[in-house]
Amino acid sequence: MNPVRIIGREAACNLGWNWDDVWAGLLRGEARVASFCSVQQPISGLDLQVAMIPDLDREVLDDPPGAGATFRLTRAVLRSLESGTIATKTRLFGASNHGESDALIELVRAAGGAINRPRADTLLPAMASDLVRIHAPEAMYLGGSIWAYSACSSSLHALALAVASLTETQGSEETALVVAADALSPLAVAGFYRAGAIAQRGCAPFDPVSDGLLIGEGAGAIHLGSGTGGSGVTIAGIGMTCDAGHPTLPDPEATQLERAIRKALTRANIDASEVDLVVAHGTGTAANDRAEAKALERVFGPGGVPVTSIKGIVGHCMGAAGLLNLLVAERALFEGVAPATSPSRNALPGVDVVLMSPRRLELRRSALALAAGFGGNNVAVVLKNAN
């Protein structure tokens, strides 16, 4: 069976509109934050710092209905993917945490409560399919996109569906596009605020005194294939589990997260000692970071592997977060360097967190990218470096 390779990638977030700018910003370690009050939005009481994209157009259009900022982020990363790579039979897999919920509700409000069923061809999945058709007309596009919704683990679930599809069609030269996007949502910001999950003193994942997350927005896209080409990094193993417990909090013992990691390692046919970097979910909330640190310590041993999180810098990009972690893991393996988690000097015991400045990786054989979501979903993806 041929391994599934990453043959194209793109990302956008507060650090820039393309992946190279985002990566450079991650290595600089500069968090670009702004007040959420500077975004025109209708909910009072949200004087919070967020990792926003300053020049993202947030206006909700009614033509097509529901075309809001999440659609624009989706469009931006799909358009920027190297069109030359989308020249074979391609399927589209999408992901989002809240999709265009805010835009749809805004449309209902603007219409004075009138509820009209949106036409199927103006919904995000169909609009994204149209983007691919327009962007790569030469491709034998296998229309009909599949979108995965599992809160903040959505993008890695979409990745898993894409990999499963490619595995089934081995030898057919089929490829898959995975795209994930979430723009800042006043509803989500209000919910996290009310849940007491937003950092008051700055977000520093895995710092014992970090008191919450930094909400961000962004998008990521990757192009997968089972042939040749790409960076030489392959998707080697995926593990997916669900805590099936609390609707918002992770299992404090992280039993299912540990299981997901071990499943991914087993499928990749590697030992934990062969993993040279973990790009963690690392939200900056005590509940997540402590649970994740426990799972990592049990699998890799105390301080057994460098661990980094990008959420103190780019914020928590919700449904796109997992895919951004995956891109960081791939680039780290390719360039042999891991971005720092935060300028903090302190980390929870049991985990070797990359702090203060980027760290050179002595070995770059494989890396693990993680994502977790409301409702307890855990996804672990092992990347192998064939170089």
């Binding site: 009209n116 979108w147 809160a151 569906l161 499963a164 509803l187 209000a190 995926i238 918002t248 409702g375």
Partner: protein, 229 residues
């Protein structure tokens, strides 16, 4: 392969909806009364069900009934795949109204996870205690058959051992917004059905049998809606 659905043969307000094999359904109502909606919430096992979407309650009730008939189901590796989405819109709408009226400080944090499109799948997983992936999927093509294909691929790649594929329809005022299986549920119709698949039904023949059973069920609902059943 087993296909079960909520049987809505409700002669009176005190009659309780049950789960029945698809070939034994005696559906008599299209829309549940407020009393029956309360009974479904209670049957579902969803904690604080009034703060969850009714679609979550319908789905949880259907999967609970399904799993009672599946002694071989290994919950550690059972995936929950809910096809269609926007079931969250009624809760999102209520959450929005409160946020707009009273500000962010007075929204209900218990409702917060239920404003997400993924809430139906993760709520079902929590109710039945399944530890495989729990996700909602939106497909541009007939959703239940697509969900069946996804389940087959996840089982074939050993991501999970079995899957419950779930479709729900909530006849609330927002049902027009719910993107359930395309070409299947009529609007303003309460219902749920769930299909159990495992490695034994990975073959094309088994999957075709499953898909045909789903088609027959949807056809039945459709005729019921048309008044021809």
């Amino acid at each position: 392969m087993s296909l079960f659905a909520l049987d809505l043969d409700l002669a009176s307000d005190t009659a309780r909806p049950t789960i029945a094999p698809a070939n034994q359904l005696k559906l008599a109502v299209k829309r549940l009364s407020p009393t029956h909606r309360e009974i479904i919430r209670e049957l579902s096992g969803v904690p604080r069900a009034r703060h969850a979407s009714f679609a979550s309650c319908l789905g949880a009730a259907a999967v609970r009934g399904l799993l009672q008939q599946q002694a071989q189901a290994n919950l550690d590796d059972l995936a929950i795949i809910v096809v269609g989405w926007r079931h969250h819109i009624p809760i999102s709408w209520g959450f929005t109204e409160r946020a707009l009226t009273y500000g962010a400080g007075l929204v209900n944090p218990v409702q917060f996870p239920h404003i997400l499109p993924s809430a139906v799948s993760t709520t079902i997983a929590a109710v039945v205690g399944s530890h495989g992936p729990a996700l909602g999927v939106d497909l541009e093509f007939p959703a239940f058959r697509g969900g069946l294909d996804l389940a087959k691929q996840l089982i074939a790649t050993e991501i999970c051992q079995s899957a419950a594929i779930v479709s729900v329809s909530d006849a609330s005022v927002f049902s027009e917004w719910a993107q359930t299986d395309s070409q299947s549920w009529p609007a303003h119709f309460d219902g749920a059905f769930a299909l159990f698949v495992d490695a034994h039904c990975r073959s094309s023949e088994s999957l075709n049998v499953s898909a045909n059973a789903v088609d027959r069920l949807l056809n039945f609902y459709g005729r019921l809606y048309d008044g021809s059943a």
